[in-house]
C-alpha cells in the first residue's frame, strides 16, 4: 500500500495528464457520433450571449449587402407568385384545364413546410465540421433535425437547440452527406472536402450520365430538406480512371463566408414519415 501511494505521488503529474487527456477523448468520441452533438456547443447561454453581442456590432456593416440580397429574393418570390396566380387550382373547370401544363388539383401535397427566419450569430468555414449558431431556439419553435436554407441555397441541419439559440451543422462538414439530384432527376449525394468553403462534391453519378458546366443541383424529397432547393452549380468534372466513377465539383449556391439571414424549415409531416420508416426498418 505504501509503495502504491509513493508511486502515485511520484507520477502524480503524469497520471493527472493522462486522466485529463482521456476525458478529452471521451468528450470527442461522444460528440463525433451522429447522435451526440449536444455536449458542448455554442448554443449554450454564455457563448451565445457573447456571439450575439458581437453580431450586433458586425450587423451594421453588412446592411447594404443585406438589402441587395433581400431585394433579389423579393424579386424572385414575386416572380413565383405571378406564376402561381396564373394557375387557378380551386375552380378547375374543363375550359381552364387546357391552359395548364400540370393538373395540379390531382396532386395531393402531403409535405407542409413552415419557414422561420433567423439571424446567424456565429459561423465558421475553416474546421472539418463547421457549425453555425442562430439566434432562435426552442422558444421560437426550432427543433432538432430541421433543415436550414438561405435565400440562395441549402445551409445545413439543426443539431442542437437551447432556449434561445440553436446550433446548425452546415453543409460544410465531413460527417454527413446530402441527397441531391440533377435537373433530370438523376440522384446522387453531396459531400464536402475540408478546407474549400466554396466547393462541394457531388458523388454517385454514373459516367454515362452527361453533365455540363453550370448545371444546377437540387435537394430531393428523400432528405429532410424541402425538394428543389439549389445546392450548387457544376464547376468541374474529374473521372477516376480505375473505377470509372466521376466526381463532380460544385460551386455552392450559398456563400458560407458571409451568411447573415437564414430560414429554418419545418416539415410538419416529417415526424410521421420518420416513424413509419423506422418501424418498417425494424420489422425487417
Amino acid at each position: 500500500m505504501r509503495n502504491f501511494i509513493l508511486f502515485i505521488r511520484r507520477f502524480f503529474n503524469l497520471i493527472l495528464f493522462l486522466a485529463v487527456e482521456i476525458v478529452c477523448f471521451v468528450l470527442m468520441a461522444r460528440t463525433n457520433t451522429l447522435q451526440g452533438d449536444a455536449v458542448l456547443s455554442s448554443a449554450n447561454t454564455v457563448s451565445g450571449i457573447v456571439y450575439k453581442k458581437r453580431e450586433d456590432v458586425v450587423y451594421y456593416f453588412g446592411l447594404k449587402k443585406m438589402n441587395d440580397s433581400l431585394m433579389n429574393e423579393n424579386m424572385r418570390l414575386r416572380e413565383l407568385l405571378t406564376q402561381i396566380k396564373g394557375v387557378d387550382t380551386l375552380s378547375d373547370t374543363l375550359v381552364k384545364r387546357s391552359f395548364q401544363t400540370t393538373d395540379s388539383t390531382h396532386i395531393i401535397r402531403y409535405a407542409n413546410y413552415i419557414y422561420r427566419e433567423a439571424r446567424v450569430i456565429n459561423n465558421s468555414v475553416t474546421a472539418a465540421n463547421n457549425y453555425i449558431t442562430l439566434n432562435r431556439g426552442a422558444a421560437d419553435g426550432i427543433k432538432r433535425k430541421m433543415a436550414v436554407v438561405s435565400s440562395t441555397g441549402v445551409v445545413g441541419e439543426v443539431v442542437n437547440v437551447s432556449e434561445h439559440f440553436s446550433s446548425v451543422l452546415s453543409a460544410l462538414n465531413i460527417k454527413r452527406k446530402l441527397s441531391a439530384k440533377l435537373k433530370d432527376g438523376m440522384l446522387g449525394s453531396v459531400g464536402w472536402e475540408e478546407g474549400k468553403p466554396d466547393v462541394l462534391i457531388l458523388e454517385d453519378i454514373p459516367k454515362e450520365i452527361k453533365v455540363y458546366r453550370n448545371d444546377s443541383v437540387f435537394t430531393t424529397n428523400y432528405s429532410f430538406f424541402p425538394p428543389d432547393i439549389l445546392i450548387g452549380t457544376i464547376q468541374r468534372l474529374k473521372v477516376n480512371k480505375k473505377n470509372n466513377i466521376q466526381t463532380i465539383y460544385l460551386k455552392s449556391a450559398t456563400n458560407f463566408r458571409n451568411l447573415q439571414y437564414v430560414y429554418v424549415v419545418e416539415n410538419t409531416m416529417m415526424e410521421e414519415r420518420r416513424k413509419l420508416e423506422d418501424s418498417t426498418r425494424s420489422k425487417k
Binding site: F17, V20, V39, S41, V46, R54, G195, P197, D198
Partner: protein, 181 residues
C-alpha cells in the same frame, strides 16, 4: 497587481481576442479558389505560455483543460482544443528547463517573456509548443491520414501565422519602458 488577478484578466482578454476577432479572420496563403487549405490563427495557447515560471504542473494541466474547454464551447469542437492545450501545458515545464540556464525555482514571481528570456529563446519556446499544439489539434480534427501532405501544409502554415500573431500580441502588450532599460 496580484499575479492571480493579472492572469485572470489575461485569460479573459486572450479568449475574447481569439473568439471575437481572430475566429473571424479566415486566412489563405494563396488565393485560388481550390487547392490550399483555409485556416484561422490561434493565439489562445499564449495564456499557457505566459503563466509564471513556478506554476506547478498539476495547476498547468487544470488551467490548460479549462482554457481548452472554453475554446471548445465557443467553437463547437468538444474536446479537441482541450486535448491539444493539455498536452502543451504538460510539456511546458520540460521545454523551459531545457531552454533556460538556471533552474525554474530561481525565477521567483516572474513569467516567461521577452524581457527575461530574450527574443530568440522565447520564440523557440513559443514556436515549439505552438507547433505541437497545432499538430495535435489538426490531426485530431481531421482524423485520417489519407491526405498527409495537406495536413502537414495546414499545420505548418497555421503555426507560422499563429506565431506571427503571438509576436504581435507581445509587442502590443509588453511594457515598453521596462523593455528599453
Amino acid at each position: 497587481m496580484s499575479i492571480y488577478l493579472k492572469n485572470f484578466f489575461r485569460f479573459c482578454l486572450i479568449v475574447l481576442i481569439q473568439v471575437l476577432v481572430l475566429n473571424k479572420i479566415t486566412l489563405r496563403w494563396w488565393s485560388q479558389p481550390t487547392g490550399f487549405p483555409v485556416f484561422i490563427p490561434y493565439i489562445y495557447p499564449l495564456f499557457i505560455l505566459l503563466l509564471p515560471f513556478e506554476t506547478p504542473v498539476w495547476l498547468l494541466l487544470v488551467l490548460g483543460f479549462t482554457l481548452g474547454l472554453t475554446m471548445d464551447t465557443f467553437m463547437n469542437t468538444a474536446g479537441m482544443h482541450a486535448c491539444a492545450t493539455v498536452l502543451i501545458a504538460y510539456l511546458r515545464t520540460n521545454v523551459l528547463n531545457a531552454l533556460l540556464p538556471k533552474n525554474l525555482v530561481e525565477y521567483p514571481n516572474q513569467s516567461p517573456g521577452v524581457k527575461n528570456m530574450g527574443w530568440i529563446p522565447f520564440i523557440v519556446y513559443g514556436g515549439f509548443l505552438i507547433l505541437i499544439h497545432h499538430a495535435v489539434f489538426f490531426t485530431v480534427e481531421l482524423w485520417n491520414f489519407s491526405n498527409i501532405s495537406y495536413l502537414l501544409i495546414k499545420i505548418l502554415a497555421s503555426s507560422v501565422t499563429s506565431l506571427l500573431f503571438i509576436i504581435t500580441y507581445l509587442l502590443l502588450f509588453t511594457k515598453q519602458t521596462s523593455l528599453r532599460s
